[in-house]
């Protein structure tokens, strides 16, 4: 028991674990909508776009959360509107908007070589450097996202299932999309410090697809994905502490392992069920 509690004597571990659990749950919850909208790549793309925003905020001496948040929100809206209003598909829209945004960041870094700030944490995450203020930001975002999803649950579900038809039934899909872009950008900003640009995509997608393998019910999928994200965040932090690997990587690797096991088990169960049908026929 003492071994399990030992890391909690360090403040950095307490902050980091709390942040990882919140970010895991948050990404798991939002990830369901992303996966079902067929936009799995958006997490990867938008986190890169936000990196561009982070650099711009630094150059312009803006508040990081505000600058990167607005940047990510606009990028998410641009992607949504490009998909809705043109013949361009989601993957292509994500590719264009986010890489252009990332390129702006790179261009600014190379133009202003007098950078004193390291962007390593933004790229790879630094859960050990999470302050109490960062935990409050993550908790605030998690609460905001949970409240929005709770009260807009039906509208979000219908828009995700069939946006065109949802509009006919009176759902203001343009508003729902804007709201979703806002919570997605907020989630990414909050998660960036913990998981880093390069690992956010996995944290968004893996719990959701694992939950999808386990259930055919949307309600259960949301619940499972959120719990899976939180649990892997918690256990991943422990693994990171004891085997001394980067926490973002250990969380994502744990999620991938769980996914692999669930995939294997469901495939075996499916085969067994098919064999049973053959026997009965």
């Amino acid at each position: 028991m003492d071994i399990l509690l030992q890391p909690f004597q360090f403040e950095f571990f307490r902050n980091g674990t709390l942040a990882a659990v919140l970010v895991g749950a948050l990404c798991g919850m939002i990830g369901v909508y992303i996966v079902l909208r067929g936009m799995s790549y958006i997490g990867h793309g938008l986190s890169h776009a936000i990196f561009g925003g982070a650099v711009v905020s630094f150059v312009m001496a803006w508040n990081f959360y505000l600058g990167a948040g607005i940047w990510g929100f606009i990028a998410a809206l641009l992607i949504n509107q490009t998909v809705r209003r043109t013949k361009i598909t989601a993957d292509a829209a994500i590719g264009v908007v986010t890489t252009a945004s990332f390129a702006i960041g790179i261009a600014l870094i190379s133009r202003y070589r007098r950078f004193t700030r390291s962007f390593d944490a933004a790229l790879f995450g630094n859960v050990l450097g999470v302050s109490q203020q960062d935990v409050f930001v993550v908790a605030g975002v998690a609460l905001m996202v949970a409240v929005i999803i709770f009260f807009c649950y039906k509208q979000l579900l219908f828009t995700t299932f069939d946006a065109e038809v949802a509009q006919v039934y009176g759902v203001r899909t343009a508003w729902v999309d804007t709201l979703f872009a806002l919570i997605l950008a907020a989630t990414l900003i909050a998660s960036m410090q913990i998981l880093g640009v390069t690992l956010i995509a996995a944290a968004l997608v893996v719990p959701a697809i694992t939950a999808r393998l386990l259930t055919d019910s949307f309600n259960r999928m949301i619940l499972l994905s959120t719990l899976l994200g939180a649990a892997t965040g918690f256990i991943g932090m422990y693994i990171s502490y004891y085997i001394d690997v980067a926490s973002g990587a250990s969380i994502v690797l744990l999620q991938a392992t769980v996914f692999g096991i669930v995939l294997l088990v469901t495939a075996l169960r499916q085969r067994a069920a098919q064999r049973l049908i053959h026997i009965h026929v």
Partner: protein, 288 residues
């Protein structure tokens, strides 16, 4: 009497060339009508204009006499083509039907007891109450069609719009779906649908609108299903067969200039059909 749906000189195109040109159409409360025409004739676009999903380039669409506006969405129940549905989406039959109440449901994510009762009632009305907890993928084509019909009905619409409800299902299921629609129409529901199944349309739907970019003709099946109107609508030679008061439409099987086949008692008492050329002269009389 004010029409329920009114299209006044509506022209629409996705690009510069119009898909629909100068459409004038009135649909009155209690009518059961179908749009027929070849693929690309603009049937689905016309439905989408009525639903407010598309905006006309010219002209105006009115529902209950009011021009369609994104702020005043009318009560329309819409059943899309089944092939546009994501069948892998994790939703049960009940969840899909509940979506139809999205405008009237409360703020809580879960349905109220009253909403659940409504869902059960509409599923019972369509004889699929036992499937409420099933995933939508695990249903037959006819059951799937009924689920989306249930979603439309639970919205308590003034108008029911269906895009090819008989496409992709077997003949018996198509027949069942059309019977359900006919029953709903008898109970006062106004229905507008599209179909490619001309024979089913002739047998079940009292008002047909032949469309090919423009409205070629509209009326009862016996009025509009003539070789001349069908040829103009489909730009292909069509044969019309009449038997025992029923109409059958067939595409002309080969290149002879047949005009119409009429099943009549052949002089002499035996049943047969007469094949006419386009100028009306009989070419042969065949006993059946």
């Amino acid at each position: 009497m004010q029409p329920l749906v009114e299209l006044d000189h509506v022209t629409f195109g996705y690009t510069t060339s119009p898909v629909l040109e100068d459409i004038n159409l009135h649909l009155h409360a209690g009518q059961f009508a179908a749009l027929v025409g070849p693929s690309g004739a603009g049937k689905t676009s016309l439905l989408k204009l009525i639903l407010g999903m598309l905006k006309p380039n010219q002209g105006v669409v009115r529902i209950h006499g009011q021009a369609l506006d994104s702020r005043t969405a009318p009560q329309i129940g819409y059943v899309p083509q089944l092939e546009t549905v994501d069948w892998n989406f994790p939703v049960t039959v009940e969840q899909v039907v509940q979506m139809g109440r999205v405008r009237r449901a409360g703020i809580w994510p879960w349905p109220r007891a009253e909403e659940r009762q409504r869902v059960r009632a509409v599923l019972e009305r369509l004889e699929i109450a036992h499937l409420g907890q099933n995933h939508i993928r695990n249903l037959s084509g006819g059951q799937q069609q009924r689920v989306f019909l249930a979603r439309a009905l639970i919205a308590e619409p003034d108008l029911l719009v269906l895009d090819e409800p008989t496409a992709g299902v077997d003949m018996r299921t198509a027949e069942n779906v059309l019977h359900v629609l006919a029953d709903l129409n008898c109970q006062g529901m106004t229905i507008l649908m599209t179909t490619h199944d001309l024979n089913a349309a002739a047998a079940h739907i009292p008002w047909l609108i032949c469309l090919n970019r423009q409205i070629i003709a509209e009326g009862a099946p016996e009025e509009v299903f003539t070789p001349a109107i069908l040829n103009e609508t489909y730009q292909a030679d069509m044969l019309v067969l009449r038997q025992d008061g029923m109409l059958f439409v067939q595409q002309k099987p080969h290149s002879h200039s047949y005009h119409e086949i009429l099943v009549n008692p052949v002089p002499g008492g035996a049943l047969g059909h007469r094949v006419e050329t386009t100028d009306g002269h009989p070419t042969s009389t065949v006993s059946i």
